[in-house]
Amino acid sequence: MSGVALIISFFVLAVASVASALGVILFRNAVHSALSLILTLLFLAMFYLQLGAMFIAIVQILIYAGAIMVLFLFVVTMLAADPRDPDLQDRLPWQRGVAVVLGLVLVGALSYLLLSGTPLNEAARAHGADALSQVVAQQGNIQAFGQALFHGFSFAFEVTSLVIVVAILGALVLGRKA
């Protein structure tokens, strides 16, 4: 892709993902929020493709936009039986203004840090046969990911399986008829 097309696609994706993220917190109906979040996740997957992280992009669509959001939509529609809209009677009317001010402070501080902070340390850049672009060029994208996962993080990978099992057992215990 040429440089200009790349920059245009970046801005389209940036505007679309921020707009759909705003939709998540602005829609009154929780189903609309969930659908908007799915859109955000899909746009982020396209960002990952643009950055060359093909495996992460596909996993993002499968796990996040697929599995996790289906669970969300299921629970949202299950609990939507409550006719009262919880956002109608507002107990803390000043809360919104304070949250917007704090949010602007946060985004200002983060942007200031990003634009004025120290540049990326060139020494941290991977070199030689271990570098991502080398492995991707020689073997492919998923091989590069798998090599990094099982050479440096195999213990963390095993622990994630434990985390999932504990979460499943916890959900089972919580969901059981008491």
């Binding site: 917190i25 990952y48 949010g103 990094a148 996962l149 959900a171």
Partner: protein, 102 residues
Amino acid sequence: MTTIPVSWYLIVSALLFTIGTIGVLVRRNPLIIFMSIELMLNAVNLAFVTLSSYLDSADGQVFVFLVLTVAAAEVVVGLAIIVSIFRTRRNIDVDEMNLLRG
């Protein structure tokens, strides 16, 4: 490799993180608070993938994979808690939840 400056991606990530934070502060439906937390996790994932691409190292992508697992576990347990609160109280407004006993 891309020609877009790394800070552009990181600023998009900062914007998404801020939107998630505001969502947690403002909304009172716990399901939407959960979605805002997912938004924050995804903003961090974008930063990880960006830095992984710019530093030419696959470690950032592995971190994304681990974040994804933790997010899935968090959603499962969190939604189970919300459902069980709804079953006992018929109401899931966070302002009215003041008991951990449910």
